[in-house]
Amino acid sequence: MTGARLPRVVLYAPKYGGTARRSEEVLRRVIVAEALSSLSRPHREVLTETVMRNRSVNEAADILGIPLGTAKSRVYYALRALRIVLEERGVST
């Protein structure tokens, strides 16, 4: 662990400096959070209880008190709706 060695394999090198990357990251979060808030409540809710809280769709279905199949299809339609909202705001996914 002493001394830096030349990397033998480096497949990914950040292209931007820390500040630029951070501001892009903030921008992404702001835009996505804003787009999420424009979704219908069931759509926003299902994404919040799954991907935002690191839960499986099964766990989210229990929490929301809806059947698993409903939770799964809601995730699907929520994603589609979110993508459309994002595209309308100039974000292509």
Partner: protein
Amino acid sequence: MTVAHTDVGAYALGLLEEDDRRAFEEHLGDCASCTAELSGLGGMRRLLAGIGPVEVGDEEPEDLSGNITDLVDRRRREDRRRRRGTLVIGLAAGVALVAGGVTAGSAIVSPGGGDEHQHGSPAADVLAMGVRHSATDPSTHAVGIVATRAQPFGTEVGLDLSNVRGPLTCRLVAVMRSGQQQPVTEWAVPPKGYGVPGSPGHLQVHGGVSVKPSDVSRYDVLVEGGGRLVSVPV
């Protein structure tokens, strides 16, 4: 267990539990429309990565069926406009943002997107599309996300590593259920580190092993000279 085409959404986000995931992967092998749909949803997973919970307001729920009908019309436009794998945010979208004293320019390319991705950053692809597992080591505090994808050659593996300072030389190994190990890839961590204050970018590396995803029990990030940064069970 029943598999519906709409499961592709939960699958794309890595939200299916083991049995459902396997069932859907079987379905995916026979379903061209789900395969096509999945490739279009990969970008959404990247976009949603690290977004915290959104406060759910008190307004009345909208009628979902209305949304879906609306989607059909909008989808046509969307399909024409879609450029997969890239994320370009135009400030014409009406979002003005100043962050950390830096004013964003007229177009922003996302981290993990943009040129690196257009030219196919394989690590970002696997991390976005593969089956993801994550772990945080209780003693080193390193955070590892491993994503795997079955390939004809075996398993394609992507690693996202953060909360690590260097200098270190590391390697990722797959530990099989038999106890044998296979190397995935190696890299160096510069002194400033990855995913730490002052160096927020994560390390993303990519490699592969010759066995099926289900033959691997965990992926270990090992440090040259001894020690383990984090072990990610799969």
